[in-house]
Symmetry: C2
Subunit: 373 residues, 2 copies
């Protein structure tokens, strides 16, 4: 009797363990793998964007959602807006040091520390979104980006793109290159250097500070993104003229980066989820901006009387000449910087050659004679 | 002694179960979820592409790889090329009926059965890749596509895009619209109908049959994709002239579809993996074509003496007029067809309005006076 009790007790224990830990399916390889990787990773993701800003700020939230759902909660990432844990421009160092496991921003913000980082965001008169994605994912770009960030203990991923940006908001008309002289403008990265060479005064500010700076006259002009995002920041209430086309950010890649120790602590399936989900977010942000920009543009014009103006052709020509100079000079750094510049330039030259007869030729053919083009 | 033996035996069993099925971590929610979803789903994916064809055929293989890695083998998909299980143009019915769980193809192949399906692949003189992705994922397109395929027991996803295609390979010069008269050309979907209206004879053939048909003179011309993919099919050995720009497929979306019963049998995490991985593949295919087309173009010109020609402007104008007529007439079907056409048209008109001053204006500004444009 006592023997039987013990025996039954042991089976009851076995049954409990089965119910709690093993499910009702027969043991198989997937069970084993799942059991070995059952740890929950609770991560912090810090961003350069105001919390939940449409487009840019929504991307890391969607990334975290995908990862949570795909992993059944095993990778549980909480997103913090700029200033919630650290300031917008402190996220690179904070993730590098492990204060948070992950960040979402734009690589040109780190140009003071790593000039070559700018090539992984956007280059004035350089590649558009589709071309950047080709370089990063099938042209050797991502491997160079990983090499560049490795000494900072970070693993970068492309995680969003706004498409061609607008040239920005101005409180005065731009009729000639001379009108840029003395202009105080919020414009980051290489575009800012080009403006400086044209006699302007570039200022780097996070998104949360742009509106106030423009409203109070600290700056005379600003670029931000495009109609959908700019409307969300109410930039139309602080400036009168809205210029196109953007020449300075023709398809900026947004970045996600992961602290390297945190990355290496992940099992292979969660690593793969991050690699795949960032690619999905990379497509998603561009898709969302593409879908929403026009109705925001119509709102800006029809409800807010914004004046949309084209930059004069000779201003664009001059900016292009200055851009080519600035980019070439900025990338005369160490051996890795030179390799990055060469990789970008060689690829750009090739992709542009084909796009002349494909993407661009098609857009112009589609335009046809409807518009007199 | 005997009692102790039984007791030890029970603990040994417990320990074994622990090692086999539960891992060494304490039991938590993620364990439970993982255990509940430990079933392995072994699926078949059938495609319209030759096995492992660069670009198009590689996409479903990469999709399966991502899913296998993310799920630790719980979603294990084997990819079959055209003709391995069923013929290229039989995959829609085969997945609909459950012969395979998943398919990868292009929606215009199903136009005989569902004319409106063509709108989810590509429309002559319509949207490019970036614009299609915006419509599908943030403009209501995907929801309409799901509604259209629901009666066929299929759940569709966007899963690849080639970008603007080339106008194709021709064994005679095209100097006027009259040169299309009587031309037997492999060209699927709405583009084929436009050719018919211009007096040509459109033929629909899967990729595996295109080369032979052109080589043997069954057809006089063919479009396929672009330099990277066309080189892989050796089309340059069967035709002399390579024309641009493609007007008939300005950014065709490739599709993945899942049998609805198979879809509903999946736990939520695996469903999310399919949703996310198809988005990643959607970006990846476009990136790969973008990165590889130019070097293939250079090979075609320099090593194979291919003559690259522009379609005359008046031919493009006439094809555009015919396209607008054909698309409008083809979409006068049932209520859902009309809704799809209206959604596409309204979105296209809006996105084109913005891209006139952003993507297109930028490409033309970048071209600058270097090329006399």
């Amino acid at each position: 009797m006592r023997l039987r009790q013990v025996f039954y007790g042991a089976w009851a224990l076995l049954l409990m363990v089965g119910l709690l830990g093993c499910g009702t399916e027969p043991v198989n390889q997937a069970d084993l793998a799942a059991a070995n990787e059952s740890k929950v990773y609770r991560w912090k993701l810090i961003t350069t964007w105001p919390k939940n800003l449409p487009g840019l700020g929504v991307a890391p939230e969607r990334l975290a959602d995908h990862l949570r759902k795909m992993s059944n909660g095993r990778l549980d990432i909480k997103v913090y807006g700029a200033g919630e844990l650290v300031g917008a421009f402190e996220i690179f160092d904070a993730v590098s040091q492990g204060t948070a496991e992950m960040g979402h921003g734009a690589a040109y913000y780190w140009r003071g520390k790593i000039p070559a980082a700018q090539m992984f965001a956007t280059v004035p008169f350089g590649m558009n979104a589709q071309e950047m994605n080709g370089w990063l994912h099938h042209g050797g770009g991502l491997e160079l980006w990983r090499e560049l960030y490795a000494p900072f203990n970070l693993v970068p991923f492309a995680a969003g793109n706004s498409g061609v940006q607008m040239a920005g908001w101005f409180n005065k008309e731009i009729n000639s290159i001379a009108d840029l002289n003395g202009l105080k403008m919020r414009i980051p990265g290489l575009g800012g250097e080009v403006l400086a060479r044209a006699g302007g005064v570039p200022v780097s500010l996070p998104g949360s500070e742009v509106y106030t700076a423009l409203q109070t006259g600290v700056i005379d002009a600003t670029e931000w993104v495009g109609p959908y995002n700019d409307l969300a920041l109410s930039l139309h209430t602080a400036a009168q003229y809205y210029y196109y086309p953007g020449w300075h950010e023709p398809g900026p890649t947004l970045e996600a980066f992961v602290n390297k120790d945190a990355w290496e602590s992940l099992p292979a399936d969660l690593q793969e989820m991050i690699s795949v989900a960032t690619r999905a977010i990379n497509e998603d942000m561009l898709s969302e901006f593409t879908a929403r920009n026009n109705s925001a543009l119509v709102t800006l014009i029809e409800e807010h009387d914004v004046e949309v103006r084209a930059l004069p052709q000779d201003v664009l020509e001059r900016l292009k000449t200055l851009s080519d100079e600035v980019v070439a000079e900025s990338m005369q750094g160490d051996e890795l910087t030179k390799r990055i510049y060469k990789s970008y330039s060689d690829y750009f030259s090739a992709v542009k050659n084909y796009h002349d007869i494909s993407e661009q030729a098609y857009l112009n053919a589609r335009q046809g004679s409807d518009d007199g083009a």
